[in-house]
């Protein structure tokens, strides 16, 4: 009897110690709710939000940006324009590898300053090949270098996008105008899309993005350049907050050589249409059957 009660006491002691140790182990989570609201936690998928829901979400996100980054921003839900199919083409004959496009993307899309993130990577490849294995992104010298050509790579907005297929929760999808988007408030951060993408077009928010209030681009959209939360995927959206309002992508405007051509492929008078009809174009890794909307071409 004595032994039993001693055992019970010891067990109770063990359980108490265990519970205390568990609470101690979980203690770091106490800092979590700072960036986490109940509304956020229970928010439904983008496609399930009514107009009213969306307005509330947008105001909340604007407030969060003000609270967490000290910046006054406007976040819109910019919808696709009917009868528009966006396409992008890049002239490899004139690209000089200056990476102005990557820098413009960095600024326009409110990328993390600490990692100098951008949706564009520019490969320097020895002439005589378009083999990616022959390329490097780490070049650090004056451009263009003799005997080298340059190939910027960003999201190809594939019509048969592996990233969209693999997402287990439809957090990424193809919009009617051809742009592949991510609902940053629905993504669980499993990074399956990042593994599936053949073009290294997707980025993960490994940390909460760092960006100062004065550097934040206040012209934002829900599906594109608003400051992303930690732990979710992001990607190039053809600057839909600009292009769906008739403007051009930031990377195109920044290009000093005019290598970039963007527009509505359904418009017979558009420049993109002219390039697709008159130039020798190719897409990257065509054999994978991803059907990109990002084309490369040469002048001659």
């Amino acid at each position: 009897m004595e032994d039993t009660s001693r055992r019970t006491t010891l067990k109770a002691l063990g359980a108490t110690l265990g519970a205390a140790a568990f609470a101690r182990a979980m203690a770091p989570l106490a800092a979590w709710p700072e960036d986490l609201s109940i509304d956020e936690l229970l928010q439904r998928h983008y496609k399930e939000l009514s107009r009213d829901d969306m307005v509330r979400v947008l105001r909340r996100l604007e407030q969060e940006t003000l609270d967490q980054y000290g910046a006054v921003v406007t976040i819109d839900d910019v919808r696709p324009i009917p009868e528009v199919q966006f396409g992008y083409a890049l002239n490899l004959s004139v690209c000089v590898g200056c990476r102005k496009c990557a820098e413009a993307c960095h600024i326009e899309n409110n990328h993390d300053r600490a990692t100098n993130q951008s949706y564009i990577r520019v490969l320097e490849i020895k002439n005589g090949s378009v083999d990616l294995a022959m390329g490097t992104v780490d070049y650090d010298h004056a451009v263009p270098k003799k005997g080298r050509s340059y190939m910027p790579v960003q999201c190809h907005q594939c019509d048969n996008a592996p990233c969209v297929s693999v997402c287990p929760i439809e957090a990424t999808w193809k919009e009617p105008d051809g742009i592949v988007v991510v609902d940053y408030n629905w993504c669980i951060g499993c990074r399956y899309c990042e593994a599936a993408c053949p073009y290294h077009a997707r980025r993960f928010n490994w940390h909460k993005p760092e960006i100062s209030a004065e550097e934040i681009n206040p012209d934002q959209a829900y599906l594109s350049n608003r400051v992303r939360p930690q732990g979710v995927m992001e990607k190039c959206t053809f600057c839909l907050h600009r292009t769906r309002k008739g403007r051009l992508p930031a990377c195109l405007e920044a290009c000093p050589t005019g290598a970039r051509v963007f527009g509505n492929m359904l418009d017979p008078n558009s420049e993109i249409r002219w390039v697709l009809e008159n130039k020798r174009t190719f897409v990257l890794k065509e054999d994978l059957g991803t059907r990109p909307r990002f084309f490369y071409f040469f002048d001659k």
């Binding site: 140790a21 294995a133 693999v166 439809e170 629905w186 669980i188 951060g189 490994w206």
Partner: protein
């Protein structure tokens, strides 16, 4: 029989058995609990500070967590190598200990689920993956298939274990109709969990290292290495530590299976290596990186050759006549091949898929301390589940944990749901 009273009694007694034991038991459980808590703490830091606290990057976006996930799914599937001899070939000796395999399946699936969950950037949104609650991208996304098959396998095995233990606790013979169909289902299901997990990788056209039809067969056969190897070692420990009179016969059956699967596994790896290197081209880059190193980057080379060496030595030991009479030799072979498969199907499979990247950048990955703490924590948690399951099973089968009936009359068998 009043299940409303006897089932809570079963649970209460199970908790009692699970928290009662000698000093070796308490020491073991305290150690595991401490390690599990270290893992919990590391995970909590990761949730708040971001996945950037791990060594993963946009280039190598899956690491040690998914490596262990893949391996533990295999471990769960491998448990079926006890179930098949016990139920299909009516191996009596195996049948007596088959519960060990079923409990291993439960523990391993729990670990696999934990490994996926710690890999999520937003665990607070894990409910988006629940069918009905979130937006389940089924049947297109292979990951939704994995949710279905892993969840299903866990439920099936929980039912089988729970039902068998509960009826024994009541002092009754389990009724075939309440568990045999589930056992048969679990055999097919075991193959499905690892096939689907292989398809997660082999379905990606942009990753040539994974995009191979032999991946699923390789996964299955290596599961039939790691599963039996673990069970052999577990049975050896159980019969020594818990003094359960387990005969050598089931061990010999498992070793007989291993003798074949270890060789098959090596053969599949060899086929892969031949195809990669003989045809060459840029799709061989990952295999070159793994086996030989690429452009001065060779972090995984010692790993994969260790794996191949361990698996080869294990094969030689298992084939030698001495291992049949001297089980300690077989134990060594099991330990070697368990580690060998863990490397080969973990770090040796997941990481090279990302190196070089899809734009052929060479960025390497080695797990950092935080990732190791999380991984050790989950293995400790899995061993806690397994240990407690085994302990409860041993007490029930030995008749020491038995329902005390006020009126001890054996009653009519009736529709008794499992656990």
């Amino acid at each position: 029989m009043n299940h409303a009273r006897s089932y809570p009694a079963f649970l209460r007694d199970a908790v009692g058995v699970a928290t009662d034991g000698g000093w070796p038991f308490y020491t073991w459980m305290t150690l595991l609990t401490a390690l599990a808590l270290v893992g919990v703490n590391a995970w909590a830091q990761q949730v708040v500070g971001g996945m950037g606290l791990t060594a993963m990057s946009d280039h190598v976006s899956w690491g040690l967590y998914i490596a262990n996930f893949t391996f533990t799914v295999g471990l769960a599937a491998g448990a079926v190598m006890m179930v098949i001899p016990a139920y299909i070939y009516k191996d009596k000796a195996m049948h007596d200990v088959v519960i060990v395999g079923e409990l291993l399946a439960v523990a391993a699936i729990i670990m696999a689920l934990l490994f996926v969950n710690v890999d999520l950037g937003r665990p607070d949104r894990a409910w988006h993956l629940m069918p009905g609650l979130g937006r389940f991208h089924w049947p297109v996304s292979m990951l939704t298939w994995d949710v279905v098959v892993l969840g299903g396998y866990l439920l099936i095995n929980l039912h089988i274990c729970g039902y068998l233990l509960y009826t024994r606790f009541l002092g009754r013979r389990p009724e075939k109709r309440w568990y045999l169909p589930f056992v048969m289902l679990s055999i097919a299901w075991a193959v499905s969990i690892h096939t689907v997990t292989a398809f997660l990788f082999s379905g990606l056209g942009g990753r040539p290292f994974w995009n191979t039809a032999i991946l699923a067969p390789r996964f299955i056969v290596s599961a039939f290495v790691s599963g039996p190897a673990f069970i052999v070692l577990a049975l050896q420990v159980i019969r020594r530590v818990a003094k359960v009179p387990i005969p050598d016969a089931p061990l010999h059956t498992l070793l007989g299976i291993l003798r074949v699967t270890v060789l098959l596994n090596l053969f599949f790896v060899g086929s892969e290596v031949f195809t990669e290197f003989y045809s060459g081209g840029s799709h061989t880059a990952s295999a070159s990186y793994l086996f030989l190193g690429l452009h001065g980057h060779n972090a995984l080379v010692p790993w994969i050759w260790t794996a191949l060496a361990f698996n080869s030595v294990a094969a030689v030991i298992l084939l030698s006549a001495r291992a049949k009479s001297q089980l300690w030799l077989a134990d060594i072979a099991c330990a070697l091949t368990f580690v060998g498969v863990w490397i080969e199907k973990g770090m040796g499979l997941i990481i090279p898929g990302f190196v070089p990247s899809t734009l052929h950048e060479l960025v390497e990955y080695m797990p950092n301390e935080l990732e190791w703490r999380v991984v050790v924590g989950i293995w400790a948690a899995g061993l806690i589940v397994f240990t407690l399951g085994i302990k409860i099973a041993v007490e029930i089968f030995a008749g020491r944990m038995r329902h005390q009936l006020p009126d001890a009359e054996p009653d009519e068998p009736q529709a008794a749901g499992g656990a």
